[in-house]
């Protein structure tokens, strides 16, 4: 226990200072939603068929270095507790219906965020036999984050756009 305490003292703060507030272009409906959420967004992640590269970046975004939680976002376990659904990966045939049901389980007001190129337009898996389509072909998408995988700073910037902090 003392060793851990010494390590905490030695390490100090790991979180990088927050960059300037990003200028995100959102639709008026999305802006209205952000106003309603007022600085608190609970996020539920759904892996619709990704290679887990985006998951690693999301894990990093909510980790100590980038600390997505300081902007009022939090990862939750159940879509009923969530406001935003973070979808990664192209939507495979098996995950199309579960994704729809997950988004339906979220209480209004809700947002869907497509993370990564695969979620936006199937990325490298376009035309593959197991893929049903991009996320916007299955559920309506509000925010897209490009990249393969997107950098944690991009994910954090998108989250900050949702919380407004």
């Amino acid at each position: 226990m003392l060793a851990l305490w010494r390590k905490i003292r030695r390490t100090g703060r790991v979180a990088e200072p927050a960059p300037a507030r990003p200028d995100t272009r959102e639709s008026p409906a999305a802006q209205e939603l952000v106003r309603e959420l007022a600085g608190s967004v609970q996020v539920r992640h759904v892996d619709a068929g990704s290679c887990n590269g985006c998951e690693v970046e999301i894990g990093s975004a909510f980790g100590p270095v980038y600390d997505g939680e300081r902007y009022g976002a939090r990862l939750v376990a159940s879509p009923r507790h969530a406001d935003a659904v973070l979808v990664t990966g192209p939507v495979t045939r098996n995950m199309a219906e579960p994704l729809r049901r997950t988004v339906e389980a979220v209480p209004a007001p809700k947002l869907v965020v497509a993370v990564g190129d695969c979620a936006r337009n199937c990325g490298v898996f376009a035309q593959a036999y197991g893929v049903a389509g991009a996320v916007r072909d299955v559920v309506p998408v509000d925010v897209e984050i490009g990249g393969c995988p997107p950098r944690p700073e991009q994910i954090v910037a998108a989250v900050r756009g949702l919380t407004g902090r």
């Binding site: 226990m1 851990l4 305490w5 905490i8 390490t11 100090g12 703060r13 790991v14 979180a15 927050a18 309603e36 959420l37 007022a38 600085g39 608190s40 609970q42 100590p64 600390d67 939680e69 300081r70 902007y71 009022g72 939090r74 990862l75 939750v76 376990a77 159940s78 009923r80 507790h81 406001d83 209480p107 209004a108 007001p109």
Partner: protein
């Protein structure tokens, strides 16, 4: 309340308001302390209130196949916690409703809240709901004996289980607090509080893995205002339990006279003590990992032994 008059009545209203308003703040402080110790920046102490405000404005959902038990369990949970927040003597030495301020009654009311939530978990008919209810009931079944025996140990010296009486007796005889009886009872009660409020090492309140959940598994189905009630009630339960700990073992600062100054001191002393305990609890959690579920009964059995030792000590060291 009769002796303290109008100021006492103000105290009886101010106390639940302070608890309702302050428990999310305390939760925020605890999360900040954890964040700072883990090297993160943290979301700020107002974040739980922001979460609650947002949740209250969300759409309420009624899952198909559930019954009134699911629908009204958050109200029962919140109602019982509110009654305890009014009745327990945290700020003034007289209770807001003395005939209900019995230590057994307070403990049983808090258990009633847990039972309501467990029944709601079972009512969903999902595997996780049943799992959460089963684990929560196992923990309650093992925590109740420790609680009741610890209450026995505390009330033996005083000759009553009435909360205001115990508090007054401790105020008049401060040396009692460092007796072996009190020390043993304190340790037993700390373990009980950790188990009942679902903190590490018994339960991880921020886990995402359903197989490690106890409390969270029962509320997976709640959304919007229902979830807000459940979260607020959980924060209030933590505050109330910590408040019971301070009021039974460290009641100094509590208002004994009917003056506004005493009331103000009582409110701030209560807030300060709860904050200190919350910070200690949060700091302790950083150093602990969650216990495997089947190791938790060993922990609870240990606390039961401690409370039995407290009762034995109160005989032979009388």
């Amino acid at each position: 309340m009769s002796a303290l008059g109008a100021v006492g009545a103000v105290g009886a209203v101010a106390q639940p308001v302070l608890i309702v308003g302050g428990s999310p703040l305390m939760l925020g402080v605890m999360r900040q302390v954890r964040a700072k110790l883990e090297g993160r920046a943290g979301a700020g102490i107002m974040q739980p209130w922001r979460d609650l405000r947002k949740l209250f404005r969300k759409e309420p959902i009624l899952p198909r196949g559930t019954s009134e038990v699911f629908r009204y369990a958050p109200i029962v949970l919140m109602g019982t916690t509110l009654v305890v927040a009014v009745v327990a003597p945290f700020v003034t030495v007289e209770s807001g409703l003395d005939p209900v301020a019995d230590l057994f009654a307070v403990v049983a009311l808090l258990a009633l809240g847990t039972v309501a939530l467990a029944l709601a978990g079972l009512d969903t008919g999902t595997a996780f709901g049943g799992m959460g209810a089963s684990r929560e009931m196992t923990i309650i079944a093992l925590v109740e004996p420790t609680l009741l025996v610890a209450i026995l140990a505390l009330s033996l010296r005083v000759g009553s289980t009435n909360l205001p009486t115990i508090v007054s007796a401790t105020l008049h005889d401060p040396g009692r607090v460092i007796s072996p009886v009190s020390l043993l009872a304190v340790v037993a009660l700390v373990v009980v509080i950790i188990a009942e409020t679902g903190r590490l090492p018994v339960d991880n309140p921020s886990t995402h893995l359903e197989l490690t959940m106890v409390h969270e598994a029962m509320v997976l189905e709640y959304a919007g205002p229902d979830l807000a009630l459940v979260e607020l009630a959980s924060a209030m339960r933590l505050t109330v339990f910590l408040g019971l700990l301070t009021t039974l073992f460290a009641p100094w600062g509590i208002a004994t006279t009917a003056t506004p100054a005493a009331l103000a001191i009582g409110l701030s002393a209560f807030a300060a003590k709860i904050t200190v305990l919350g910070v200690l609890l949060a700091a302790g959690e950083v150093f602990m990992a969650k216990l495997r579920l089947f190791r938790v009964p060993e922990l609870l059995a240990g606390s039961f032994l401690l409370s039995l030792l407290a009762v034995a000590a109160s005989f032979f060291l009388a």
